[in-house]
C-alpha cells in the first residue's frame, strides 16, 4: 500500500517528517514540493536497498529505529538545514522494518528559489541522517544476519559540513 504523508499545504514552508513501515509515493511527494510558487527548484533523493554490500549478496534489510528520538533527530537536522540555506519546503520519509532488494528506504526532498540551496540542503540532510538519526540496518543474506557497521566514508561526508 502506498502512503503519502505529505498532505496538501495551506501555508508556505511546510515540513514533513515520517518514519513508517509503508512504502512512499515519490510522485506524490514531488508534486507536493512542486506546489510552492516561490520555489524555482526541487531536488529529491531516494535511497534503495542494493543487492550487494561489501561483496555480500543481500536478500533483504531489516531497519530498526528508536521511536520518538528518530523523529526528533530528523526534525533537528531539517531545522539546521533551514538555518543554513534559503530553502522552503522539506520532506523526509524513512522506512523501517523488513525491506527487500530494490525497495525504497528513504526520501529527502527540498525546494528553494534557486537550485544550489536545494542541492546542498538535500545532501546535508542525507549526510547528517546517516550519522545522527537513530536507525540501524541489519543485512539478511544466505550467510545469515549481520548488523551493519557505520562507514568511515559516511562520517567523512557528514563532517565536511561542520
Amino acid at each position: 500500500m502506498m502512503k503519502s504523508p505529505f498532505s496538501p499545504r495551506s501555508q508556505a514552508d511546510s515540513r514533513v517528517i515520517s518514519v513508517q513501515k509503508e512504502d512512499f509515493d515519490v510522485a506524490a511527494l514531488y508534486q507536493a514540493l512542486q506546489q510552492n510558487p516561490s520555489s524555482g527548484a526541487v531536488v529529491t533523493f531516494t535511497g534503495l536497498v542494493r543487492d550487494l554490500n561489501l561483496g555480500t549478496a543481500v536478500n533483504a534489510l531489516f531497519i530498526e529505529h528508536y521511536p520518538g528520538m528518530t523523529e526528533r533527530a530528523l526534525s533537528d537536522i531539517v531545522e539546521q538545514a533551514k538555518q543554513r540555506w534559503p530553502i522552503n519546503d522539506v520532506a523526509v520519509v524513512h522506512r523501517v522494518g523488513r525491506l527487500e532488494v530494490n525497495q525504497q528506504i528513504v526520501f529527502v526532498g527540498v525546494n528553494s528559489a534557486h537550485r544550489q540551496a536545494a542541492f546542498d540542503a538535500c545532501e546535508f540532510i542525507m549526510d547528517y541522517l546517516k550519522t545522527s538519526a537513530p536507525f540501524w540496518k541489519k543485512e539478511l543474506s544466505d550467510q545469515g544476519e549481520q548488523w551493519l557497521e557505520q562507514r568511515e566514508s559516511d562520517r567523512v561526508a557528514s563532517k565536511r559540513w561542520s
Binding site: 535511497g47 531497519i63 530498526e64 529505529h65 528508536y66 520518538g68 528520538m69 526528533r72 524513512h94 528506504i105 528513504v106 542525507m126 541522517l129 546517516k130 550519522t131 545522527s132 538519526a133 537513530p134 536507525f135 540501524w136 540496518k137 541489519k138 548488523w147 551493519l148 557497521e149 557505520q150 559516511d154
Partner: protein
Amino acid sequence: MKINVRLFARLREQLGDSVQCECPEGATVAALTDQLASRGDNWAQLKSQEILCAVNQQQVSGEHRLADNDEVAFFPPVTGG
C-alpha cells in the same frame, strides 16, 4: 532513583529490550554504564568507546547527570539512510 534503560540493534538482541536500574542520587551516565557493565558477559561492551548514549532521547556524554525516571538508551553507531 529509578532509571529506565533501553537497548537497540545488536545490544537489544544480546541484552534485551530494556532493563530497570536503581541508581544513587546524582549518578552520571558513566556511573550507570559502570554499574551495567559489572553485570558481566555481554554487558561489558557498554563501556566500549563506540557505544552511544541518549538520555530522554537526546544524545549525551558520560558526565551527564541522571534524574529520577530518566530514559537512558544505549546503542551502536547509527546506520540508516
